[in-house]
Symmetry: C2
Subunit: 456 residues, 2 copies
């Protein structure tokens, strides 16, 4: 039976203290994947706490993917103990614990935010707009921001988009839910596999059927799309493989949408961060029949805590939105919309992206070079290294993926295997392959970890 | 056939120009309720514009409730030509037109926002938190804001609420949708009738069954709730009648929830603005079995363009949220959450509410006194005048509600009848009764309109 001494400390609820103890044991491997946790009642009795405290702790561990629940059986330690930081609830509430990983390669990170510019624009917006900021918001977002986004897309993605067709929302999660209401609950939604598991969860929570579609080197397989009416994909930079959907495949997918009356949700997330290749034009530009919905977010390119995303709807869907869903209020405050509009139209966003691209490129080179220098470099192969803010690291090892991740965790490295992003059966070549997110990486920690590894 | 000379003017798309012409004709009564509009094709040919332009204009008119669509028949001018300003899309995009109403009693308005305090707190937050503002947000909202809200609820609503049970979201529309996912799509949701029509629309768009429940003087009728598992109501201040659910009825409704395993969504919207009576305690405080979900918004009490709302979930629903929906990102940016947290915890919100309460009370008295002084005061009866930011004005007239609203529109007054908020059959006593929203009212315009009326 798990036994911890739960100390009351100010500002830390008891369930949180318990959650941290269990999480620490999972991270340290003292609780093994697959191991059954005690029942809530039994643990509550053992620790002399209320059942609600245990429920709170288990709930948090469930939400963060450290454990899973099997109905009427109990709770089990997850095989993949690490979730991306972006999806982890309450990270700000969890102060550094002695067992925190030395090196977190599992999540995304953004830093170097242009605070002084943003702050100055906020003040300007207050002074310039005044009372106008208090007016009820247009439900698709304020016109200056939509125009600034249209101009940005024209300049950087060579896209011809009307400001009137842009819809602003508080994050892509929100926009996906809006699309379910706009396109219909009777449709089947297809997502790429492997893929970002959250998208699958959002469609499921939205009450629609969602299927996983396999990919080859060129992108999703069109022949697997037949049960679906809507395809959700990231053609510019697939997560986590980093693959770019080929020109031929893009044409095939648009033909599929045209002939079947289907829709393509083009999630252009991360497309700002390409280093080696000229980006492919957006699929939205290839589409002349209004079958592609383009989507992107500033939460990725500015900061995860800025909740502004947008989508570009074809004319008929914009009309349908106004007719059927025009009663929804806009979800982004006017202050932030006006600030972002100025940030875009005055060229600060372009500067920021250029600076971040250089910075990430430097960081990527540091990571690659550190890996090439380390004592077991001959066991490592880099895959798809010119994509976004992560790459794949194939490891030549007899270990299973679970064992590999545990081995890394013992060394203080938090990392997720490519296999954990699969719903469909995992191809052999994608096993023993780690997804290395270097955006939020601490270079010093990387050197330390690799040095300690060599010494061991 | 409608004929307009559509002039191209910079910044105004052609569809918008057409939309404004048609809207002006509806407001002026030149297009009568029930009148059929020309088909999109015919109008496009007549005006020599593209069909897309007409579609855009009709779409906007539909979204704003000026016209309705009958499938395969065409478009008709609506009987109730006026929607609340808060629901009207793109008001900021529409500059003053010569036919705009002189006096808008149909919408809500907020002004006197404490710009300088808010701006100062924004700067402080940037300086004090710095890089921390860039961390991924806890998905239920940042802890300092949740704590500040819990403290506020304790001080002003005598509610005992844990910060951990509070969930922050970008507007109540968003939270309603989250609740559908949390409570289940298989449930039937009951709403008060008459009521704010948008809530009905949101449940319908969310794909759940929604029924209208009649009310008496004490609140919704418990005996009409049997097909429902979830009841959505505003016990502190019902819109638009202003009724306060009686203590006895509250107990009955909580018993209903307890015995049926149902839930009550207590929408406490507007409860800050009560003048004459001590507010009743929240239903959430009466509930000892976790059946009441409390909800409120700062969009109403601060400004409609600030999109921050919250709900208080009972323990088991908070656990369910973490288990089933913990993957959702928070929808409110960290900058605004930290700013609002300080605004609350330093007492600025309390000051603002006190100031606004005085201001609205003064305005209400001005409106009531102007109405009592006018030449047809003997035809007017005020109903439920101690409630929120509106009251009901019963008019002794042989006119129908539609004719009364048109009559007001001819005088330049935009107003909605109580009958337009009914889904169920309208009781005779609620006919010829106007909903007077005075929050955004211009006192000078009111005096002018009443004076012109006397002169006529």
């Amino acid at each position: 039976m798990l036994t911890y001494e739960l100390k009351k400390s100010p500002g830390v609820p008891l369930y949180e203290a318990l959650y941290r103890c269990i999480r620490a044991d999972i991270l340290a491997g003292r609780l093994q994947p697959g191991q059954k946790l005690p029942s809530k009642r039994a643990l509550a009795q053992n620790l002399k706490v209320s059942k609600i405290t245990v429920e709170g702790a288990y709930g948090q561990l469930l939400a963060e993917g450290y454990i899973r629940a099997a109905e009427k059986v109990g709770f089990f330690v997850e095989d993949v103990p690490f979730t991306p930081a972006a999806a982890a609830p309450c990270p700000a509430a969890a102060p550094a614990s002695p067992r925190q990983p030395l090196l977190d390669l599992s999540g995304s990170g953004t830093e170097r935010f242009p605070f002084s510019v943003w702050s100055r624009l906020q003040r300007e917006v207050m002074l310039d707009y005044g009372e106008k900021l208090l007016l009820p918001l247009p439900n698709q977002g304020i016109a200056p921001l939509r125009q600034a986004i249209a101009d940005h897309l024209a300049a950087f993605r060579a896209m011809t988009v009307k400001a009137d067709n842009i819809l602003i929302g508080a994050g892509t999660d929100f926009l996906y839910n809006l699309l379910i209401q706009l396109l219909g609950r009777d449709k089947t939604y297809a997502v790429e596999d492997p893929g970002y598991g959250k998208i699958h969860k959002i469609y499921a929570a939205g009450g629609v059927r969602c299927i996983s579609v396999p990919m080859d080197r060129e992108g999703v397989l069109p022949e697997a799309l037949h049960p679906a009416q809507v395809l959700h994909l990231s053609p510019a930079h697939h997560f986590p493989t980093g693959r770019v959907t080929s020109t031929g495949r893009r044409q095939q997918l648009i033909s599929w949408a045209n002939s079947s009356g289907g829709y393509i949700i083009e999630d252009d997330y991360d497309s700002e961060f390409r280093f080696d290749a000229h980006p492919q034009p957006a699929m939205q530009s290839l589409d002349s029949s209004g079958r592609v919905i383009y989507m992107n977010t500033f939460s990725r390119s500015l900061a995860p805590s800025i909740r502004i995303s947008y989508m570009v709807l074809p004319d008929h869907l914009m009309t349908r939105f106004r007719e059927n869903l025009g009663f929804y209020s806009c979800t982004v405050s006017s202050f932030e919309q006006y600030t972002l509009a100025r940030f875009l139209s005055r060229g600060y966003f372009e500067k920021h992206i250029n600076r971040m691209r250089k910075y990430y490129k430097m960081r990527r080179n540091q990571v690659l070079s550190a890996l090439r220098r380390c004592s077991f470099a001959d066991k490592l192969t880099i895959r798809e290294e010119d994509a976004g803010l992560h790459f794949l690291l194939k490891v030549d090892t007899p270990l299973s993926d679970d064992a590999l991740v545990r081995f890394c965790a013992e060394k203080g490295i938090l990392v997720r295997p490519l296999s954990s992003y699969y719903h469909l059966p995992i191809p052999e070549e994608d096993r023993r392959c780690l997804v290395i997110n270097y955006a939020g990486l601490n270079q010093q920690a990387l050197e330390q970890v690799l040095a300690a590894w060599d010494d061991a």
